[in-house]
């Protein structure tokens, strides 16, 4: 689940409780880093890029292919 938090001028995006984006300024293609005008502006930026982040890969089996594990000879 993805949630957002706008705090002290920084937009934070959390995915499954983990902060994946911390954006304290408005990113631009010129290199300027102006402050967010407000939370709405930050959320508008997030909405424009969020689609890839919403993807959830399917669960996998931890062991796709196995050999005979050994319990002997460990260093």
């Amino acid at each position: 689940m993805i949630t957002t938090n706008f705090n002290n001028g920084t937009l934070e995006v959390y995915k499954n409780g983990q902060c994946i984006i911390s954006q304290p300024f408005k990113p631009t293609s010129t290199g300027q880093q102006p402050n967010w005008e407000n939370e709405a502006e930050a959320l508008e930026w997030w909405n424009s890029i969020k689609e890839p982040y919403e993807y959830e890969p399917p669960p996998i089996e931890l062991t796709k292919e196995s050999s005979t594990p050994s319990t002997e000879g460990a260093q």
């Binding site: 983990q18 996998i60 062991t63």
Partner: protein
């Protein structure tokens, strides 16, 4: 060149691994160990991806039998030139061409084999990929020729290792509790993991005893916000006090590939890290500590699943405080941002290293040149980095517009956290344009998600105080499909000088090289020297070294004569210094049509002040009209070594040696070659005074006779070369002066060298030659 080994063992991991433990100084070739420096065999030392019993680890994956890719894993500079399709999954960016993942390859070399700070060796190997995951095999141990500590088959964790981040943590827990002997500590984003050794102070037991202060090992990293450790004697009473934790934790950071499907949402590369790798235990044990787990929910070695951003990523560097890593992200395709598809916009991000979470901040939003872009044709990758100062790191894009090259300059200050993009200004010699020398690639079989086996990448370097940049292209599948680079103009690399100081957004055309024949066009390339003035280029028929030797001269005069469909241009230029086969770039000439401005190869050198080249339908065409104008003659990249070997995997080790893995030409599956620039292709030895009928026959008249043998060495182009040889007389009928049977000599690029010998008897003379390093 030297054929070092043919594979003797099938169904095994790559043919060559250099042990990252410097105390071992060894290389494993076809599993067997050799001294890295001398290549002397090391008895009873073998790396065969052995398990915890030390048993040869066979596996069922056809890919791991490296017939096709023959990867070379020097851990220094490694690349690969093989693809068997337009979108071969392991031919994409960053699987085997690891050096390209780091723009600062001199200081940060991405590897698939590394040694941790705690002296473990970790090896990774691409296995296969499906639509959701790129799977890797892993091996970990203390000594590559002893039993492993763990191995993993087909983990969804992949990592092109960049650096190990050691993070010292000192924090007060927000709360803590206990259940018998298990202590649970809570702090958001604690960043610690299983195996980390902690020092605990400040815990107090209210109305009880046995406060858990002391040194402990974390036994469970429950999640990103809590962890557990175990004490010997259970506390009693109520947990209280402010628990302080001091710890050193280690994380290996690098790039992870997500899948073969390459869709924006589940493919591409992520900047990622693993923890707990020093504590891998058990062979392929998914329920214990033998596997990486993609989330922190269990106490197993942990991979951080960084966000699914897709695209290609390239490492820029870290700030001096080791707080942030900077990465340039090249968008390839998107399910939701279609305007960014296929023209490689660049985004620069920084990632926080210190909290155990790769929290991303976008420093520079998507940017690309103005004008009509070339789309869905080629992935346009960034150049390597030039570090002007701690606060000024510069790289260039390889953006193409629809009809020309339109690079951008990126200046990154990783201390201040800023980046600025500027479109470069390109200038060409008077009367010429980009189209005079080159043309853009052609769209063909482009996979819209950008995982193609061809891409562009500039190469910049500084030589004798001058900054240069060459815009390089390659196509790993070119041996089977020439569609992307179908013409000689499309197979041309342009080199520019870069403006001085901060005027480095001004690029001035210097010279160009055209790969005239399709078989010459690069399947892959890589810097041969760390200073950048030499490249390794692999083509369909050759593995070669190219050296940048800049010249820029003005001809005294030029004229031409036409015979049939060929115009031969004769250039008069005192002390021109060119030799047959040299690549030259001309400009400034005038004629009625097909003026000889462009890229050519020297055809003949009648004198030190004249040379010729041909114009025909293969290049600019037959010249008409009157020769006019002032010809400027420039040169840059020249092929200085050729082997005739078709590399698949190749690499340059820390000693500067070029290793090449090839498909076999004889028995076995693969071959390993060691190439050196000074190794001749052919050595010729003749008698100085032979009989008239044969240079190889000397008339022995029955008594000891003094004479000379003539020794010469040639490269694959047939040019003489200077190289050191050891000559050893194997027959009993001749000696060198002083009765020696072995002699070191140095051949000459100018002509034969004479070596005195004494003939002592009749019969066949046998001389062996060995190249001396």
């Amino acid at each position: 060149m030297a054929l070092i080994a043919r594979s003797r063992i099938g169904n095994r991991y790559p043919s060559l691994w250099v042990d990252p433990d410097p105390t071992k100084n060894r290389v494993f070739i076809d599993t067997y160990a050799y001294d890295l420096t001398t290549l002397a065999p090391r008895a009873n030392e073998q790396f065969m991806w052995q398990d915890r019993r030390g048993i040869f680890n066979t596996n069922s994956s056809t890919f791991n039998n490296p017939d096709a890719f023959t990867p070379i894993q020097t851990g220094f500079m490694d690349a690969n030139a093989w693809a068997d399709g337009h979108q071969t999954e392991h031919a994409k960016i960053g699987i085997f061409d690891l050096w390209q993942c780091s723009l600062d390859y001199q200081n940060y070399k991405p590897t698939r084999i590394w040694r941790t700070a705690q002296n473990r060796i970790l090896c990774t190997y691409p296995r296969l990929a499906d639509t959701n995951y790129q799977y890797m095999d892993w091996w970990m141990g203390f000594d590559m020729s002893k039993k492993s500590q763990a191995y993993i088959f087909q983990s969804e964790m992949s990592l092109a290792y960049l650096f190990e981040h050691v993070d010292s943590r000192n924090f007060n827990a927000t709360s803590w509790s206990y259940s018998t002997t298990t202590i649970t500590v809570n702090l958001n984003n604690h960043g610690l993991y299983y195996g980390d050794r902690i020092t605990v102070t400040g815990a107090v037991m209210t109305s009880g005893t046995n406060a858990p202060n002391g040194e402990y090992i974390i036994t469970q990293a429950t999640d990103a916000n809590s962890f557990q450790f175990t004490v010997g004697t259970a506390p009693t009473g109520t947990a209280a006090g402010t628990m302080n934790i001091v710890c050193t934790t280690r994380r290996a950071w690098g790039f992870r590939h997500k899948a073969s499907s390459s869709a924006y949402t589940n493919g591409g590369m992520s900047f990622d890290m693993i923890q707990g790798y020093d504590y891998l235990l058990g062979d392929n044990n998914g329920s214990g500590y033998g596997m990486f787990k993609g989330q922190a929910g269990a106490s197993r070695p942990y991979t951080l699943n960084e966000t699914n951003e897709g695209g290609q990523k390239f490492f820029i560097g870290k700030d001096t405080a080791n707080t942030y890593a900077y990465v340039v992200h090249v968008n390839t395709a998107s399910t939701g941002v279609t305007s960014q598809t296929g023209d490689s916009p660049y985004v620069i991000k920084r990632y926080l290293l210190t909290t155990g979470q790769a929290t991303a901040t976008t420093v520079l939003a998507a940017t690309k040149p103005t004008g009509t872009m070339l789309v869905n044709t080629i992935t346009m990758c960034p150049s390597n980095l030039r570090i002007d100062s701690a606060s000024r790191r510069v790289f260039y894009s390889s953006h193409y517009r629809s009809t020309d090259q339109a690079p951008m300059r990126f200046v990154v200050d990783i201390e201040a956290g800023t980046a600025v993009a500027t479109q470069c200004s390109l200038t060409y010699p008077s009367g010429t344009t980009y189209a005079t020398y080159a043309t853009v690639p052609t769209s063909s079989s482009y996979g819209i998600y950008g995982y193609n086996t061809w891409w562009s990448k500039p190469h910049q370097w500084t030589q004798s105080g001058v900054r240069y940049i060459t815009f390089c292209t390659h196509d790993k599948y070119f041996w089977a499909s020439t569609a992307r680079f179908p013409t000689r103009l499309a197979r041309t690399w342009l080199t520019f000088t870069i403006g001085a100081s901060t005027g480095d957004d001004i690029l001035t055309f210097h010279s160009a090289i055209t790969f005239e024949n399709a078989s010459d066009f690069p399947l892959s390339w890589m810097p041969y020297t760390q200073t950048g003035e030499k490249l390794v280029i692999v083509s369909t028929t050759n593995t070669s070294v190219w050296t940048f030797t800049p010249t820029n001269q003005t001809a005294t005069s030029w004229n031409f004569s036409t015979s049939g469909s060929v115009s031969t241009v004769t250039v008069t230029l005192a002390n021109h210094g060119y030799k047959v086969g040299d690549r030259i770039t001309t400009s400034g000439t005038t004629a009625t049509s097909n003026t000889p401005n462009g890229t050519y190869q020297v055809l003949s050198v009648p004198s030190t002040s004249t040379f010729t080249f041909n114009c025909d339908t293969n290049n600019t065409g037959v010249i008409t009209g009157t020769a006019g104008g002032t010809m400027s003659v420039r040169s840059g990249w020249q092929q200085t070594f050729a082997s005739g070997i078709r590399a698949r995997g190749y690499g340059v080790d820390s000693l500067g040696r070029l290793w090449v893995g090839t498909a076999t030409t004889g028995i076995g599956n693969t071959e390993i070659h060691l190439l050196k620039e000074n190794t001749p292709y052919k050595i010729v030895i003749n008698f100085q005074n032979p009989v008239a009928s044969s240079v190889n026959t000397f008339e022995y008249t029955g008594s000891t006779t003094s004479t000379n043998i003539l020794v010469s060495a040639y490269n694959i182009s047939g040019s003489r070369m200077a190289t050191k040889l050891t000559l050893t007389i194997k027959s009993g009928n001749m000696t060198f002066t002083g009765s020696f049977l072995s002699l070191n000599v140095t051949t000459s690029a100018a002509g034969d060298i004479s070596v005195p010998v004494i003939i002592t008897g009749p019969g066949q003379v046998l001389i062996s030659t060995t190249t001396v390093a």
